[in-house]
Amino acid sequence: MEEFAALIDALVYTRSRNEKLRLIAEYLRATPDPDRGWALAALSDGLDFPAVKSSTIRNLLKDRIDPVLWTLSRDFVGDTAETASLLWPAPDAPPSPPTMSETVALLGEMSRKTVLTELPKLLDRLDSSGRYALLKLATGGMRIGVSSRLAKTAFAQAFDVSVDEVEEYWHGLTPPYADLFAWAAEGADPPDIENLPTFRPFMLAHPLEETVVDLQDYAAEWKWDGIRVQLVRAGGETRLFSRSGDDISTTFPEFLDILPINAVLDGELLVRGTHQGGEEGGAASFNALQQRLGRKTVSKKMLTEYPAFIRLYDALLIEGDDVRTLPWTERRGRLEALASRLPGSHFDLSSVVEAKDFDHLAQIREGSRVDAIEGLMLKRKDSPYIAGRRVGYWYKWKRDPLLVDCVLMYAQRGSGKRSSFFSDYTFGCWDGDPDKGADLLPVGKAYSGFTDDELKKIDRHVRSNTINRFGPVRETDKSLVFEVAFDSVHESKRHKSGLAMRFPRIHRIRWDKPPHEADRIEALRALIAD
């Protein structure tokens, strides 16, 4: 655990990606199994200890230190695990740190009941750095600037194997990844995942921006506004994965018994309707899909009211055949042949958009807003299916964002690196004529779209224009206008304004604009897509 704690500390203070890779790789080489496997799992968010929550830590500390002093400290430090690691009273006995494996085993055994007596025993065995590492590990999500991808890249680098291969096996394995280490570090056979319904990393697209492509070489498809999914059948089991590789099979049970053959398919999950692409488009707005997302159980009513289907984009494996190395045109042919054998109730094929040339395609794209589609995808006709984002193969050509002027209403302190800044903003539009006494109603929240310098300026504005404090939230005097960009706006019962924006972000800060000139709710309502 000391070595892991030292690694975490070193990573926290390292800026350079190469240096981070080097530190992790060195640790993975020097640490024995299974400790290094648990560490890799921790760095790639592969560990979960449901008994230990942020609130558990808070409760433990409030028994040991005055609650007011705890809250003041937590607010200043900005991170519960770190605050607790600093405030935990030093035990009388010298530290006797557990190994990684012992730590993971002990954390895994804890229940909601025992955690309040067991976690303190573990904390007492560690110094302040060790406590920080332990609490980060236990609550999941290290948030130390190491992505899951970076951890895997470091693994590949440590043992001189290809990261694509690591990604390929990754989702079929569980911590502490004994087979993966045996293969990479000791030269054993690669892990066998052929008969496992595991997730394969998606191929992703770059934004097109100023690039102009030749339609001789590229095919265009609509970019549908649902969620990207991967449907996998292998070893007699079918699973549905989201873009991040999360298993969402139980939320969409209608797909679990529908594939007649073993395959790995890439597509867009949508709900039947007419908003996207009209009657023949056949898909409802994202808002309709949202009714189905995140549910643990699904009622019959849900299934009939919001019937989901997958619009197929691509295929990775078909009946044991890995087609990823084939050019897109060939894969498309295989996909079309396969699609004709699948039930139309649950599948259709994302059609190819025909255009004479690039300008013609641009015109077609302009029309896509009316059709409530996100934009276009451009795929190089000879592109293989490669995990991740490779330049030159796939482009996304989103339509331009919508813009509206809003007034800053509330600001909340951020977390992590932004913990000492007010960086999360709630903004509103006027519910009528502001000069006749209309109020602002909140219409959205944004945390991005500004530079570090702008953040500092907004933070200063918030601090000197606060009129009310509610815990970590400040209400401001509504004097600052943001030009907010967003992809679309929908009806929503959750907000008082009755509207919800999709992907709002701060586009420009209008220091110059008087707040009464910001937009009214009606202006936003006019942009509703569904």
Partner: protein
């Protein structure tokens, strides 16, 4: 008879003493100021008369050119030196005694006495040993006006030897780089250098130009800093494997590009909090402060054992809460103009 302590008035711009018509550490120019130490949030330029230790006056002269002549060839500023332990009688029967505060060279607590009542203004202070100034002296009083810069229980400054060992270990591990330490130009920089010497590090230490004069001033006051060289006079090769000291503002500045692959370190009590170190892009945080940490603050309040504690610039809320929990009378003073020093 006047009400108790009516002769001392906390105002937004400093502590005012009506019978003597003078201010302690005022944040704007006044006719007569008593100054605890040379940091900018305590010592401002432009006063008519400044009462301070000779070291503090020398620092102020360096920073504000308070010794400069005006157009008429006269020095408009009057400097009144007071040695440690010396008492000076002010107008209106107020006595002021300067007592070591252990913060930086020349730093003093000011004991004010009037009509049998005793008030101490600490300015900034710490309780740890510091080779560049005499240690804080606990002095009994009725009202103790204490700073609270690190007034949160998360702040515990480790022994400075540990931090020096970390720094020297990193220096040895990267002989083809250098370690650039950001340190406040007055006090912190000289203390770090003196502690490095005490730890047996006698190699030349390189300085950012902004550090030079203050280091020389320290040496003139008897603090031996060993061999110091200016970055401006050196080549990249000269600096390889050496320690370089600069003001915190220069850490991520263009200036540092002239150094051979610097490892960025910062000497500050704030470095105890990881996110603070990350915000400043620090690779090697050194938790070194010239202020009292939480343990020192609370211990000092107990040892001084005043009837009442007034808490100034810093995190007043938490220290106030601690006083309340320990049945000690306390209030927070809302002074303006004090900032978190890069300490």
């Amino acid at each position: 008879m006047a009400a108790p302590f009516s002769w001392i008035k906390p105002e937004p711009h400093g502590i005012y003493i009506p019978p003597a018509d003078c201010w302690v550490d005022p944040s704007r120019a006044v006719d007569r100021a008593l100054v605890t130490h040379g940091h900018a949030d305590h010592a401002r330029g432009g006063h008519g008369e400044t009462v301070a230790t000779p070291e503090t006056l020398a620092i102020m002269e360096l920073r504000y050119r308070t010794g400069a002549e005006d157009d008429a060839g006269e020095i408009p500023h009057r400097a009144v030196p007071v040695e440690y332990g010396e008492t000076i009688r002010l107008k209106g029967g107020v006595d002021a005694t300067y007592i070591p505060a252990g913060h930086v060279l020349g730093s003093a607590q000011i004991l004010l006495e009037h009509a049998g009542e005793r008030v101490i203004v600490t300015g900034d202070y710490k309780r740890r040993a510091d080779p560049t100034c005499p240690p804080f002296e606990v002095t009994p009083c009725d009202i103790f006006i204490t700073e609270a810069t690190f007034g949160l229980p998360v702040f515990e400054h480790p022994p400075i030897e540990e931090e020096m060992a970390k720094l020297l270990e990193r220096l040895r591990a990267y002989p083809d780089r250098c370690v650039l330490v950001g340190a406040y130009a007055l006090g912190k920089a000289q203390r770090v250098i003196a502690e490095l010497r005490a730890a047996g590090h006698h190699d030349p230490i390189y300085l950012h130009g902004a550090m030079e004069k203050m280091c020389r001033l320290y040496e003139e006051h008897g603090v031996n800093l060993g061999e110091l060289r200016l970055v401006a006079d050196a080549t990249k090769d000269d600096i390889l494997g050496h320690i370089v000291i600069c003001p915190p503002s220069a850490l991520n500045d263009r200036w540092s590009r002239r150094l051979p692959e610097p490892i960025t370190a910062m000497a500050s009590g704030w470095m105890r909090v990881r996110q603070r170190a990350r915000q400043r892009n620090v690779e090697l945080p050194l938790v070194i402060s010239d202020h009292a940490d939480w343990g020192e603050l609370t211990r000092t309040i107990k040892e001084v054992d005043a009837q009442e504690n007034w808490i100034t610039h810093g995190r007043e809320d938490a220290l106030l809460r601690w006083c309340q929990l320990h049945q000690r009378r306390a209030r927070a003073l809302a002074l303006v103009g004090y900032e978190d020093e890069d300490d």
